[in-house]
């Protein structure tokens, strides 16, 4: 938006410059009042002036005079002075004598009368300026009435100069004035032709039949070689204003194709300065001539919409795809040049036109935003936090909290020691996230109703801050699971019913669980032991240790403490481990991993590992190879910091796709990317993702490569190709080689405040300007340096007694003390009135 503004500032300042560079010798007062003698003697050769003669102001001429006066400034910019000539009563000369002369204004150049205007032709500033310039620029602006006249002029200009042809529905309008003002500046460069005949417009081939609006065409006659053919014309799309005409003429005057030999990022042309995009045709030595023709062809198509430049790749070292043949630079600052591979010239044109369309829309939006900027003061107090708003909309609903025990500072410790496991939700009753979690917590309570050995409870930290501080609760909300009086685990999973329920259930079993017999170990791997977990889908991990491997065992036990609640971990270290290790072909120390639902057991050898390594390794092993991405599980995969290869599907993916993707994912054990899929039926927000990537919904399923962590480029697997391992691999190769063009790039913008805050500092300064808020405040007045303070806390009171004391001291001692006596009595009578507030 700022560049948009800048661009106008630029054009406007240019115009101002044009206008102010015209020599003016205006006096301080714009409308001079002179006597006839003074006026005629002041006339200078070549200088135009508009004069109005009057005896005294007749009431009828008043509005006319006002318009003349208003126009004085505008006319002065064109070197035309405006003079009101006061005729003496007895004067009967040519201008002063005749009664009807007072109904006219006279335009002089030097002392030659150019034209006289009836006052009703000069009805406003536009008409004054338009008519007067029209009269003065008689040669520069040809007025035509017939098609023949127009063609004659056109033919005469061919090969010599260009023509600006304007149609205005009537003279004296704002459009007329704009054309005349343009003619004043450009009249020597181009031939201006003006008409008020709508028929001429129709014959120029303009498809728009609306004759009520003014039109302007630029006729490229200078280049015209064929006398039989009419000159090429470029219509101005915008309304006729001085700025638009100026802009249009600048564009028409610019070279059709600019040849450049530097980095496009650095190139700047008239087009960019005027806020239009610049299209680069990337050329090579071999194809230079053809490229030049293409560039010219495109340039004609884009005339007035964009600039075209021809860039020789041989001269500039461009770090872009060799295949790229077109580049697009937008006038917006900070937007990088886009390099594209386009097939034909139409694509170039649509590219620019679409861009314009997009810009148009964006401009509209920006304008809306501007409107809203003003209204923003009213929006600041509208809640834009989805969680806070959702919770406050829900506040009237009473939550079923019966299942959850309320703990207080007094009951906290006793309650903890009474139950094997106490889950405590620490929350603040005024905090939205807490209340949102409390809702899920009630659902958990519902799920776990009747589960023995688990007590769900809550502590409102707003009521009992002491407990919360003691329990080291620094965030709202916090869930901790206390094991009978002893250690506690902080829940660090999703604030969600199922995950929390499963966490609570899994943490009931000690982690790792020591398995005594081989049967237990086998049952454990089958998910049948311990029985309280058999109904919960979970992944079971079994550490198999020989008695010798104590180091790995200790690390495993510590890892168990950390992962408690997330996974079940078993530990088996009997002498006959050999039977287990033989069965699963591992040698202790080793891990056996039984995924939930699956029948297979994987064996993983344990080398020397720290607890941290082991935790990380187990976490990694818990991830699926080709997962279905959901809102809940995305973070686990995000943490890998790898690009995503994600298949968006409306419903389940087909077996074929699943097989191929799985092959792809399994093929490389240390994948450089996360292969996954997303079910739009289950995770509808995926549509929002696609909507952000593509303008139109791609046909589903669609395979996307998105590098979330570096660059944020999004690539779409070609829709024509089948999703097979081979195809994907070769596509990925191409991506790697930089041969593909991203469909979009993720915004790397920071998250800024959604709305401004109340600027109280400014409000205070506005309201109390004399309060010296600035630190440049003079020293003497600071409270610390105040002279001995008299009783009274604030200024008003402080001053009162001190002044009186002063007065007492100033007077003579006798009178002074005499004065004190009645003061004792009089004080009450005087009693200071409460100042009205």
């Amino acid at each position: 938006m700022s560049t948009h503004k800048d661009r106008w500032v630029f054009s406007f300042s240019f115009l101002l410059f044009c206008a102010s560079s015209i020599p003016t010798r205006g006096s301080a007062r714009l409308l001079q009042e002179l006597s006839p003698q003074e006026y005629f003697s002041s006339l200078q050769a070549g200088k135009a002036s508009l004069a109005y003669f009057s005896h005294n102001v007749s009431p009828g001429a008043q509005p006319f005079l006002e318009q003349i006066e208003n126009s004085a400034k505008a006319l002065q910019d064109y070197g035309i002075s405006v003079v009101k000539v006061n005729c003496p009563k007895e004067d009967v000369s040519r201008y002063c004598g005749k009664e009807n002369a007072f109904r006219k204004a006279y335009l002089f150049r030097g002392n030659t009368l150019i034209r006289e205007f009836p006052t009703d032709a000069l009805f406003d500033v536009n008409s004054v300026v338009a008519n007067i310039l029209f009269a003065l620029l008689f040669n520069e602006v040809k007025y035509v009435e017939t098609l023949a006249d127009l063609q004659n002029i056109e033919n005469a200009l061919k090969g010599r100069s260009n023509m600006v042809f304007a149609y205005v529905p009537a003279t004296g309008t704002a459009e007329h004035r704009a054309v005349m003002e343009a003619a004043f500046a450009y009249g020597t460069v181009h031939q201006f032709v003006l008409t008020t005949e709508a028929t001429l417009l129709k014959d120029t081939g303009s498809d728009e039949s609306d004759v009520s609006s003014a039109r302007l065409l630029f006729c490229h006659c200078q280049r015209a070689t064929d006398l039989a053919q009419p000159c090429r014309r470029t219509a101005m799309g915008q309304t006729l204003t001085m700025l638009n005409i100026h802009r249009h003429l600048k564009l028409m005057g610019a070279p059709l194709v600019t040849e450049v030999a530097e980095d496009p990022e650095k190139v700047s042309t008239v087009h960019l300065q005027l806020g239009l995009p610049l299209v680069f045709i990337l050329s090579q030595k071999e194809t230079y001539e053809a490229d030049r023709r293409t560039a010219e062809f495109v340039a004609w198509q884009l005339l007035g919409k964009a600039g075209v430049a021809l860039l020789s790749r041989d001269l500039v070292d461009l770090n872009v795809l060799l295949r790229s043949n077109v580049a697009l630079k937008t006038p917006d600052e900070g937007v990088p040049v886009k390099y594209l591979v386009l097939e034909d010239t139409d694509e170039v044109v649509t590219l620019v036109e679409d861009k314009n369309k997009v810009e148009q829309i964006q401009e509209d939006e920006e304008e809306n935003e501007e409107d809203e900027d003003e209204k923003q003061d009213n929006n600041q107090d509208i809640q834009d936090d989805q969680v806070v708003e959702a919770v406050s909309r829900d506040k009237k609903r009473e939550l079923p909290l019966e299942q959850i025990l309320v703990l207080t500072e007094e009951t906290f410790h006793s309650a903890l020691s009474e139950t094997a496991r106490t889950v405590v939700l620490f929350y603040a009753s005024w905090e939205a996230v807490s209340l949102a979690v409390l809702q899920s917590y009630t659902e958990v309570a519902d799920h776990l109703k009747g589960t023995r050995g688990v007590l769900l409870s809550r502590v409102n930290c707003w009521d009992w801050p002491g407990v919360c501080t003691k329990e080291n609760v620094t965030q709202f909300p916090t869930i901790k699971i206390y094991e009978k009086g002893e250690r506690s685990v902080v829940y660090d999973g999703m604030w969600e019913t199922e995950e929390l329920t499963s966490f609570i259930m899994l943490s009931r079993v000690s982690c790792p669980l020591k398995l005594a017999t081989i049967d237990e170990a086998e049952g454990y791997l089958r998910g049948e032991f311990p029985s309280e977990l058999s109904s919960y889908h979970h992944t079971s991990l079994l550490g198999v240790f020989s008695t010798a491997s104590s180091e790995a065992r200790e690390a495993f036990e510590e890892a168990g403490n950390i992962l408690s609640g997330r996974v079940t971990m078993g530990m088996y270290l009997e002498d006959d481990t050999l039977s287990l290790s033989r069965k699963y072909a591992v040698s202790p120390p080793a891990l056996l991993l039984a995924r939930s639902g699956g029948r297979s057991v994987e064996g993983i050898a344990l080398s020397k590992q720290s607890t941290q390594d082991m935790v990380q390794m187990i976490r990694y092993e818990l991830l699926d190879i080709f997962p279905e991405i959901t809102v809940q599980n995305l973070p686990r995969y995000l943490q890998l910091g790898k690009p995503f290869l994600i298949l968006f599907s409306d419903g389940d993916i087909s077996q074929m796709e699943s097989k191929e993707m799985l092959k792809l994912a399994k093929g490389r054990p240390q994948q450089a990317f996360v292969a996954c899929w997303l079910n739009l039926k289950k995770t509808p927000v995926g549509r929002g993702v696609l909507k952000a990537y593509f303008a139109t919904m791609p046909s589903l399923p669609v395979l996307i490569w998105v590098n979330l962590h570096a660059g944020g480029q999004v690539f779409k697997f070609p829709s024509g190709q089948a999703v097979t391992e081979m195809n994907i691999l070769s596509w990925l190769e191409k991506l790697k080689a930089g041969l593909e063009i991203p469909s979009s790039t993720l915004s790397e913008e920071d998250w800024k405040p959604p709305l401004p805050a109340y600027d109280f500092l400014q409000m205070m300064e506005m309201a109390v300007p004399e309060v010296p808020l600035h630190t440049s405040h003079r020293r003497g007045d600071t409270p610390e340096r105040h002279p001995p303070e008299s009783p009274g806390g604030d200024t008003a009171v402080r001053e009162e007694p001190s002044q009186e004391m002063m007065a007492e001291k100033v007077g003579s001692p006798g009178r002074d003390l005499r004065g004190t006596a009645p003061r004792l009595a009089a004080r009450e009578k005087q009693g200071k009135r409460h100042s009205e507030l």
Binding site: Q380, Q386, E389, A390, W430, A695, P801
Partner: protein, 675 residues
């Protein structure tokens, strides 16, 4: 046994030279005991000297009529112990919930004997090291480069026993009665000895000098039995409900105002006591005259030769003779025990009853000497509560924290939070913190921002007057900017001559919060720590120099600042704009969308969802968010690819704007307190 005696006497001999402690506290009143508690908790080497045989000797005598005017609120409707301290003005701070004053008295204005008992219990239950019957009569310095402050404090008690300390905490209060000397002042009875039995005043006419709570308390006691009472003082009466200063005349004592204004014979007069003279006539009646008349006369002459004002001015106000004149002029700090090398100077103007100290409570004259309790009130005299138990219990804690940092390398306690908890931590504190509330404009919470504003450090109740020295005084670093959370009254609201009941005195709308009049939280934002020069040159009546931004949380009738739209939302916007970030909360679904469509995540998603702790939220809540237009429901949209790709975010924001329904505050309810 002989050996024991010998070593014992040896000890006595060496201790006759001096007994050493790191910290010496003079006075076992409320502030001395409070300091002792913190020193004890930190296992410091300290001793408290008390001249009496029990703690709180001032309260054993004062107030003479035994009614404390610090409120002891039994019920607040809340269980929050920190919040309840806001309305418990008598308890000292401790971990022991038995030592809450409401367990000692059920009276709203408790008896002073209860305070004495409470202080005894406080000292004994907490096993504080108090040495009773030890009156420190002299304090001097011993230069020593090795000492903490370049000198030791040498204390001498009434038995010539010497003590040596590295740091001296003066908690002696202000106990020396103010007296005025004028001709005839020998006829004046002091508040400290005057009878408190109303019967002794039956049918008498009484003149009271002074206009503080002790004067009115005395008047209140005898109001019903006297002929009439007149009260003279230089300054006009200052009502605490108009000045918002608890040391001014409290409503509980103001019966005399009633009888004066209803012309029931009692009255108030203004005049300088220095100009007074009292003459006793033959009948023992006391006549008021002026020093001026006496100067011209031979004082030895009898009463008849002395001109009385009424001789010249026959309607002179105090022309009626009095039976008694009572002086109730308050107290001042005992400066007498300090050697001049300590440069314990009286304050200036109306603070001359207090020693000069810095806003850190350290003496201006001597490093390592801190003044605690009532004697430290010069910092906030006639402003806040630093001269009273409910104020200085917090300033004493602040001094202890300063000392822990200075001498023991224990930095000011702080908690580090993720930035997502910024709004919450402020809201929590302004709603419950008692220190901020009582010591408004004096103690402030400080939030030190960590780099990139991803986390912050929270420091509680730091003396705001030494903000510039924060890094040195706390041992914490503030390189990335800071917030200062403080409570303030409206700038022109309080004062003796102010009408505090005027119509529309309360502000209801958040956007006008800066005009709030009643006590409300104010948050100052500084991009860097203000310098000492900036602190010195701050505008008058401002507790702090000009900040880079400031936020007022609008005053609240219930002092409950938890309203989502009126309190929390504007605060969040302020914090967001200071930090240039988005502090909104998001459901996991939104974070999911952002993760796939933005290279960066908002803090809430980054610190929650991305770390596997997203807020999934119940179905019902997400539906509410969709209805509010703040969450898009993609399962419903028949997706037709409307809108260009880049404008997605815009369109959601658009959605946001279109659907958000302006919440019009219920004007009449908001302003109910005015009507």
């Amino acid at each position: 046994l002989g050996l024991a005696l010998y070593t014992g006497s040896l000890c006595a001999v060496t201790s006759a030279a001096f007994l050493y402690h790191d910290y010496c506290v003079i006075g076992a009143g409320p502030s001395g005991l409070q300091a002792a508690y913190f020193l004890q908790q930190a296992s410091r080497d300290y001793v408290v000297f008390e001249r009496s045989h029990a703690p709180g000797s001032f309260f054993a005598l004062y107030p003479r009529h035994r009614k404390l005017i610090s409120i002891n609120k039994q019920y607040t409707g809340k269980s929050n112990s920190e919040f309840n301290l806001r309305h418990d003005w008598n308890s000292l701070l401790s971990h022991d919930s038995r030592l809450l004053f409401r367990r000692y008295s059920r009276d709203f204005f408790p008896n002073a004997d209860t305070m004495v008992r409470y202080l005894e219990d406080f000292a004994s239950l907490l096993k504080l090291q108090v040495q009773y019957n030890t009156a420190i009569v002299h304090v001097t310095l011993e230069r020593d480069r090795q000492a903490w402050n370049g000198h030791y404090f040498l204390l001498t008690d009434q038995d010539r026993q010497n003590y040596k300390c590295s740091s001296l905490l003066v908690a002696t209060g202000t106990w020396v009665p103010n007296v005025v000397n004028f001709p005839g002042s020998e006829y004046v009875e002091g508040y400290e000895t005057v009878s408190i039995n109303p019967e002794d005043f039956a049918g008498q006419t009484v003149l009271i000098l002074g206009r503080g709570n002790s004067a009115f308390e005395t008047a209140e006691n005898i109001l019903g039995v006297t002929n009439f009472i007149h009260m003279v003082s230089r300054s006009r009466v200052r009502l605490s409900w108009a000045t918002h200063y608890v040391g001014d005349l409290r409503a509980i004592n103001n019966g005399l105002l009633d009888t004066y204004q209803l012309k029931s014979l009692d009255g108030l007069l203004e005049g300088d006591l220095e100009d007074l003279a009292i003459i006793k006539d033959k009948k023992g009646k006391l006549h008021i005259t002026l020093r001026f008349y006496l100067d011209n006369r031979n004082t030895s002459a009898g009463i008849d030769s002395i001109t009385l004002p009424q001789d010249e001015l026959d309607n002179f106000a105090t022309r009626a003779p009095y039976d008694r004149v009572i002086r109730c002029l308050g107290w001042k700090f005992d400066f007498s025990i300090y050697n001049s090398s300590l440069r314990m100077m009286p304050g200036k103007g109306n603070k001359k009853k207090y020693p000069q100290i810095k806003p850190s409570y350290e003496s201006r004259g001597t490093r390592g000497l801190f003044v605690l309790g009532t004697a430290s009130h010069s910092v906030d005299f006639r402003k806040s509560a630093g001269g009273f138990i409910h104020g200085f219990r917090y300033t004493t804690r602040a001094v202890h924290r300063l000392l822990e940092n200075r001498h023991h390398g224990v930095p000011w306690p702080s908690t580090v939070y993720p930035i997502t908890q910024l709004t919450n931590s402020i809201i929590k504190r302004v709603n419950e913190a008692s220190g901020l509330y009582q010591m408004f404009s004096v103690l402030a919470d400080i939030i030190l921002l960590r780099e990139n504003a991803t986390a912050f450090e929270y420091l509680e109740e730091y003396p705001v007057g030494v903000l510039a020295e924060l890094e040195v005084q706390t041992g914490r670093k503030a390189p990335n900017g800071l917030f200062v959370i403080i409570m303030e009254y409206g700038r022109n609201f309080s004062g003796a001559d102010k009408d505090v009941f005027y119509y529309n005195r309360a502000v209801g709308e958040a956007q006008h919060a800066w005009q709030s009049n009643f006590l409300h939280p104010v948050i100052y934002y500084y991009k860097r720590l203000p310098t000492e020069r900036e602190m010195r040159l701050r505008p008058p009546d401002w507790p702090l120099p000009r900040p880079d931004a400031v936020h007022h949380i609008v005053e609240d009738f219930l002092t409950d600042w938890t309203a989502p739209n009126a309190h929390i939302l504007p605060l969040r916007r302020f914090l967001e704009n200071c930090l240039s970030t988005d502090l909104r909360n998001f459901f996991a679904e939104s974070c999911f969308l952002f993760a796939f469509t933005h290279q960066k995540l908002p803090p809430f998603c980054r610190q929650g969802y991305a770390r596997m702790q997203g807020l999934v939220g119940s179905e019902g809540l997400r539906r509410h968010a969709v209805e509010a237009g703040l969450l898009e429901d993609y399962s419903l949209t028949d997706f037709l690819g409307d809108g260009p790709p880049d404008s997605h975010e815009g369109s959601q924001d658009q959605l946001l704007r279109d659907h958000a329904i302006p919440v019009h505050p219920l004007q009449h309810l908001v302003n109910a307190k005015d009507e």
